[in-house]
């Protein structure tokens, strides 16, 4: 609450992002009844999932991820490496974004509205699975973000591959069903951005959600192991301020 105007600006900024995305889908659905695999009602649930996933990421991880390459580049990571807790855990979770928490409430409201207005039956089991998968998707989002920043250990820049990560996140905000061919295979395996929200939404609407749930779990586990290996390799090559 130290910077009150900025606090409210950021809340309004995220609200504008919600409205823009909502209108974008609305404009597209003026001309089509299906986008990828989903109709308008299903796409609204997906969009609600995108908002919640993004708000959780912004609240818990985003500020910490912003500072990580700077800590590496300036040598300030030293202060975290000497503490008696996991340094990766500490640098990933030390800061909580209160303004994004307000947006999280709004995003949850939008998703709740999309679910309530959905005309088909949605059982409590499906909804619980959707919520659980969405949380796994948030973890996957964090791991991908981390892996795009960790090259700062070797690249001598203060932002790693942050711009590439920001570009890739656009694929997360569009239904995975629109992609096909080798790009789809890439986006659900090696760079699984299309899995983060689309797969939880698929789990909600699919007759048999378990293949989707297993896929989501497998790519998240693989991303966790890869991020951990990168972090350890990075810390080994870290030379304080000269990194």
């Amino acid at each position: 609450m130290e910077f009150r105007v900025d606090f409210w600006f950021r809340i309004v900024m995220d609200s504008v992002w919600y409205v823009v995305n909502f209108l974008f889908f609305w404009v597209l659905f003026r001309h089509t009844s299906v986008l990828g695999e989903w109709n308008y009602d299903q796409s609204l649930v997906f969009l609600g999932g995108v908002f919640v996933s993004d708000a959780l990421h912004m609240t818990i991880f985003s500020n910490n991820m912003w500072w990580l390459p700077i800590l590496i580049n300036k040598g300030d990571l030293d202060f975290y490496l000497v503490r008696p807790v996991s340094s990766l855990f500490f640098v990933s979770l030390r800061e909580f974004a209160a303004n994004s928490f307000v947006n999280l409430l709004m995003a949850a409201g939008v998703m709740g509205w999309a679910l309530v207005r959905y005309p088909g039956p949605l059982g409590p089991g499906s909804l619980a699975l959707f919520a659980a998968c969405l949380l796994v998707g948030v973890v996957l989002h964090f791991l991908l973000h981390l892996m795009f920043l960790l090259p700062a250990f070797w690249m001598h820049t203060s932002h790693g591959l942050r711009e590439v990560y920001f570009s890739m996140t656009e694929t997360m905000t569009r239904p995975a069903g629109i992609f096909s061919g080798w790009i789809l295979r890439l986006l659900v395996t090696v760079l699984p951005f299309a899995v983060i929200v689309s797969f939880p939404t698929r789990a909600l609407f699919a007759g048999n959600p378990w293949p989707v749930v297993l896929h989501l779990g497998a790519v998240t586990a693989a991303a966790f192991l890869a991020a951990l290996a990168m972090w350890r390799a990075g810390v080994r090559s870290y030379a304080s301020a000269s990194s």
């Binding site: 504008v16 404009v27 597209l28 001309h31 986008l35 570009s167 694929t171």
Partner: protein, 268 residues
């Protein structure tokens, strides 16, 4: 003296931009590749879902070329706005030295932005040269249309600067204007036709959008370039766009005058 100073500022900014070449190309190529891929699949999904050969006056190929053009034009128009050098000058007190320059601050910043755009223009030329090889020659692109498009891009770049300049000047009063700039970017992407061609909106919405300045940032230059506007429509559009440049310029002057009254030279 003024001309020499402006030329030096322009070349200094180009040199500064090119000093991180690997980053510059990695960011540009990845951003372009992802946005083109998403655009391609969005267009494909909309046309497959609609089952119609023409949507909003575009066939699938024309709409894809619209997206290709708007992505490239957007890079030229937006240039480096998110780096927010104006607000940084105000926060850090760096504005003081510019107040001593023999040219207006806004002009200095615009010239620096043009300098920053130089390397981006080279990138866009490289990408644009590759587009016909990969996807064929864009329908409707003629030398006359290209000339109208280039003039419209120049106007759009100026308009974008003049729209973001007063937003950045809010730094005289607020601790952080980054979020305002991002808000402007989100709104202009939708209302300016970067997310979807404006022809996909309803007729009544389109009338409103044509009166707002956002259309003249992206959709108008692209429509000019792809031959979707007659010379008369282009001329009217240029007049409206330049009119908005005038309005934003006045707004910028007012905000600048009020802001500098309270500027102390030590940042905020």
């Amino acid at each position: 003296m003024r001309g020499g100073l402006l030329r030096d500022l322009l070349t200094a900014e180009i040199r500064r931009r090119m000093s991180y070449r690997a980053d510059f190309w990695i960011s540009a190529v990845s951003s372009l590749a992802v946005r083109l891929a998403v655009a391609w699949f969005i267009v494909k999904a909309v046309f497959e879902g609609s089952g119609r050969p023409v949507v909003g006056g575009y066939d699938a190929t024309q709409m894809f070329f619209y997206y290709v053009a708007v992505i490239l034009v957007g890079k030229l128009v937006q240039s480096t706005d998110l780096e927010q050098s104006v607000s940084q000058d105000i926060y850090e007190g760096g504005l003081t030295r510019y107040l001593l320059y023999p040219v207006p601050y806004g002009l200095v910043k615009y010239v620096q932005q043009l300098g920053a755009m130089g390397p981006a223009a080279v990138q866009i030329a490289v990408f644009a040269a590759w587009i016909p090889l990969a996807f064929g020659w864009p329908q409707g692109l003629t030398p006359g249309g290209a000339a109208m498009g280039i003039a419209a891009i120049a106007m759009a770049n100026l308009l974008h600067f003049l729209m973001t300049f007063p937003i950045q000047l809010v730094s005289f009063w607020a601790d952080n204007v980054w979020s305002l700039m991002v808000m402007h970017r989100f709104a202009s992407a939708l209302l300016g036709g970067m997310l979807a061609p404006l022809a996909l909106f309803s007729d009544s919405t389109r009338l409103v959008l044509e009166a707002l300045p956002f259309r003249y940032l992206f959709a108008f230059p692209v429509e000019s370039m792809l031959g979707r506007l007659s010379p008369a429509q282009w001329a009217v559009g240029m007049l409206v766009g330049l009119g908005w440049c005038g309005v934003m310029s006045i707004l910028g002057r007012v905000v600048w005058r009020r802001g500098t009254f309270q500027y102390t030279g030590v940042g905020i």
